[in-house]
């Protein structure tokens, strides 16, 4: 039914399909727009950034083709991968918009050629592994994109950049967004719910065998639903164990991860996740090592450090790493006051629950140069450290720490080169687990946010997306 109806519609509008296949797989963009809309918009436009289309609709289709070409030149499949695409009116305000959405249309398990029994595989991958199209009447991936973007009331004035050269300026690079979304459709996602822990129809996704929680030492496949819910917010403790990806990490991710390393006392020794600051010197290696001293300048044992430190506090933090609390004044104000008291670095404990700890924005009103590094830690970690410090003497805490770039880690992976998955606490519905953690650097295509510095590359040495897809069965 689909094929007859759809074919009739597409033929009627003179825009059947656009082949986008020049690599090891054929990826076809199925134009599902009606006449005059989306891919068929006849508005005349000037060529832009290597996109030679002469109408808005043509340029949109060429951009889709470019993203399809990237994946077609990367993955291998004897079965044509069909992406049904349409431009529709998605939710907008003048300052926010849904750019688009995409995902697999079907999943399969226990088909001939499935690498692991009783696990779900997205349709495109299942077709590839089986060697036939398991449902020829259905496209592999569905994609909807916002036809109104940039118009009044829909992220007014900011448009999709349709060029192919990534020179998007202040606009949104459509090819990058498409490349990201198509990756989800090819299998860069679990079909298991991170918010409820429920498996799809009682079976794990192929993805779940590679999600490993370093706290429980269990894969998502081996966990109960409740354990998966907990794991989905276990920040920087859920890693990807696929061999292709782990092997690729050293060639992709930068060496060194900013961390707070506490070496004493033993009960609190370990590495703590930090947020970094947009002011002062960058956290570096070997970093700053020293005794930690808590500022206590406010009732309730809070150390806000929003004013010049008292003589007693100043004596306490001089030559040490100052631990202060978030709140009341800017981060930079706290650092400046600690710096003026002679501190060598500053740790700011968050005042709200959640993980990872926040990045620390600059305060442009403070022009005094900041010469010591500042990091943030979670509220929970702050409570842990302060409880330990409660046994200190006034001038000696007995707590030794390093604020620095830990060279045992790559940015976005653990010490075994297993990349962190995005597991913020609280759970960000959907963003979690099916993306890399935002600590990854250089920025990765499959982080939850598209960064302006991304290239269109999906393979090492730029990117880890393809190695992950290889882990689940692509080649």
């Amino acid at each position: 039914m689909f094929s007859r109806m759809r074919l009739a519609v597409l033929l009627a509008f003179g825009a059947l399909v656009s082949p986008a296949a020049f690599g090891a797989a054929t990826i076809t963009i199925v134009n599902a727009d009606p006449a005059g809309v989306g891919f068929n918009d006849p508005t005349v436009v000037a060529p832009v950034g290597g996109n030679a289309g002469t109408t808005l609709g043509q340029q949109r289709l060429i951009a889709f083709q470019a993203a399809g070409n990237k994946w077609g030149a990367t993955v291998t499949s004897a079965i044509t991968i069909r992406i049904q695409a349409q431009w529709t009116a998605l939710t907008c305000t003048a300052t926010s918009a849904v750019l688009g959405s995409a995902g697999a249309t079907e999943v399969f398990r226990d088909f001939t050629g499935a690498p692991v029994a009783a696990h779900w595989y997205g349709k495109a991958l299942a077709d590839k592994l089986n060697g036939t199209d398991l449902d020829p009447a259905t496209a592999d991936i569905n994609a909807n994109f916002n036809v109104n973007l940039g118009q009044a009331g829909c992220l007014t004035g900011t448009f999709f950049y349709l060029g192919l050269d990534n020179l998007h300026g202040a606009n949104i690079d459509l090819v990058t967004v498409l490349t990201h979304e198509f990756a989800h459709g090819l299998g860069f996602q679990t079909f298991t719910s991170g918010s409820t822990g429920a498996q799809l129809a009682g079976f794990p996704s192929s993805w779940d065998d590679f999600l490993f929680d370093t706290t429980t030492a269990l894969t998502w496949t081996a966990m109960t639903a409740a354990q998966r819910v907990t794991s989905a917010i276990n920040t920087q403790k859920l890693v990807w164990t696929g061999a292709n990806t782990v092997a690729a990490v050293p060639g992709v991710l930068q060496l060194g991860l900013p961390l707070l390393g506490v070496s004493a006392p033993a009960p609190v020794a370990g590495n703590y996740i930090v947020g970094t600051a947009a002011f002062g010197p960058a956290v570096s290696s070997p970093g700053v090592t020293g005794e930690v001293a808590q500022v206590l300048d406010t009732a309730g044992n809070l150390g806000l450090a929003c004013t010049a430190l008292s003589a007693l506090n100043a004596a306490s933090v001089a030559g040490k790493i100052a631990l202060v609390d978030r709140g009341t004044c800017t981060f930079k104000t706290k650092t400046l006051n600690a710096q003026l008291a002679g501190a060598t670095a500053v740790i700011i404990a968050n005042n709200a629950a959640g993980s990872p700890p926040p990045g620390l924005g600059d305060d442009a009103t403070i022009v005094t140069p900041i010469t010591i590094p500042t990091v943030s830690i979670t509220q929970a970690d702050g409570v842990t450290l302060k409880a330990s410090l409660a046994t200190r003497s006034r001038m000696h805490s007995g707590m030794t720490a390093n604020v620095g770039l830990n060279l045992s880690f790559r940015a976005g992976a653990d010490s075994s080169n297993r990349p962190f998955m995005y597991t913020p606490n609280p759970f960000q519905s959907g963003s979690s687990v099916s993306h890399w953690d935002t600590s990854a650097f250089p920025n990765q295509l499959m982080e939850p946010a598209i960064n302006a510095d991304l290239t269109h590359e999906v393979t090492p040495p730029n990117d880890l997306t393809f190695p992950l897809l290889k882990d689940i069965g692509w080649n």
């Binding site: 529709t88 926010s96 398990r109 001939t112 449902d135 009447a137 900011t158 996602q189 990045g359 620390l360």
Partner: protein, 159 residues
């Protein structure tokens, strides 16, 4: 939401939640409907696909009684009436024989990933990929929070 369209919206919501919505335009919104979509006589421009809809929705202007383009508030309110998609998805067994055996399931749009963008006061853009339709609608209605997006090179809290 404007008074007078609640019934129409509630009806649309019920249809969408049940997965039994009639298709008012000729474009399906997800794979689940690909083989069920009747041809339409209405132009797609007046029956847009709100984010996360399991089927097309139609909005009736309470003043004119005619179909009109819904605004963001309409869509957000409508979506807010839907139960969470993850909880309502019922796996539909793939009905056609699979060569060599196996089991297939059709997915609805709750399994899609939604890229959302918010423009900050300084003109910078924050993006987040939210594979949950309601979360995406909420993010558009309220704007992405800095805590939800990448922190490395984006706008950061200063306090």
């Amino acid at each position: 939401m404007k008074a007078g369209i609640a019934i129409a919206l509630a009806t649309a919501a019920t249809l969408c939640a049940s997965g039994a919505a009639a298709q008012f335009a000729n474009q399906p919104t997800d794979g689940k409907k690909l083989s069920e979509t009747p041809k339409s006589t209405l132009p797609a421009s007046i029956a847009p696909a709100p984010v996360g809809a399991g089927g097309m929705m139609i909005f009736i202007d309470p003043v004119t009684g005619k179909i009109r383009q819904p605004d963001a508030a309409d869509i957000a309110e409508l979506l807010s009436q839907r139960p969470p998609t993850a909880a309502t998805f019922v796996a539909q067994p793939f009905v056609n024989p699979i060569p060599g055996g196996g089991v297939g399931v059709k997915l609805d749009s709750s399994f899609e990933n939604y890229m959302v963008v918010t423009k900050k006061a300084d003109g910078s853009l924050l993006m987040d990929c939210l594979p949950d339709a309601r979360k995406a609608a909420d993010a558009v209605a309220n704007g992405l929070k800095s805590g939800e997006i990448l922190r490395k090179k984006e706008v950061l809290d200063v306090q």
